[in-house]
Assembly symmetry: C2
Homo-oligomer: 150 residues x 2
């Protein structure tokens, strides 16, 4: 059995994401560039890869002076996810994390702080995976490396 690079199924590539291109990014995803979406997208994609919860993103938007409701943040995160701009990370617990890095990669999870750290997709290889049951195929492989204090 040969090694497998982990990560999610292939997605449409995401364009460069600085400043003024946010509108185009949204339009390409068939999402109207409303004020709220632009604000959230700017927070998410305007400054490198990020891991956010709905609540964190909402707080940031409010702190930045944007009038956005938490419900809209949830809706928007899911719209972005459907559009392939975000990926949801399963870390257990009740809070949902979204990752702006949609390329092949995995995560360290610092249990004490609920903090996620990227592991480049090129580093980890998973070997020895059994065949999936009949009629099922691998969508993607999640690797979460849990960290605790030494």
């Amino acid at each position: 059995m040969t090694g497998l690079v982990t990560g999610m199924r292939s997605l449409a590539g995401r364009p460069g994401t600085r400043g003024v291109e946010i509108g185009a990014l949204l339009r390409r995803a068939n999402l109207r560039p409303t004020r709220q979406r632009v604000a959230l997208a700017t927070l998410l994609f305007g400054n490198g890869d990020r891991h956010v919860t709905a609540e964190i993103l909402h707080e940031e938007a409010v702190a930045a002076g944007e009038k956005v409701s938490l419900a809209t943040v949830y809706n928007t995160l899911h719209q972005f996810q459907r559009a392939g701009l975000l990926r949801e990370i399963a870390i257990g617990g009740q809070r949902a994390y979204f990752d702006t890095n949609i390329s092949n990669h995995n995560h360290f999870f610092v249990e004490a702080e609920g903090q996620l750290i990227d592991i480049p997709g090129s580093s980890i290889r998973v070997d020895g995976l059994p065949e999936p049951p009949e009629h099922l195929e691998i969508s993607y492989i999640d690797v979460v490396v849990r960290l605790v204090s030494k």
Copy 2:
């Protein structure tokens, strides 16, 4: 960089678990063998490895004629987990899964049905893991292989 077998930190070994030993199992964990705990432990450990949610276990207990409240099922699952008899699996979503197999292993997750399937711990190897950040060490490595219909 060398390969790592995935799984959780080492735990006190669990004894064989058929029939009459349940009481001893509980006592060893410093948990009084109450009627409810014995009933739940029997459902959990009496018949091979299992993956349950609180709700499923509660339904089974009720179906088996046991008078147990859902709150007690939650309490009991967490007590068992603290005692090292169960492990919680992070599959994302809001439902918490508990696994009676506490040895090194990982999971297929059938997204359509919310079903978990064990992958023996001896099969999977993770290679190429970067060093964790300062002062942190690996607690365990979660590998969840998500499956979808072909």
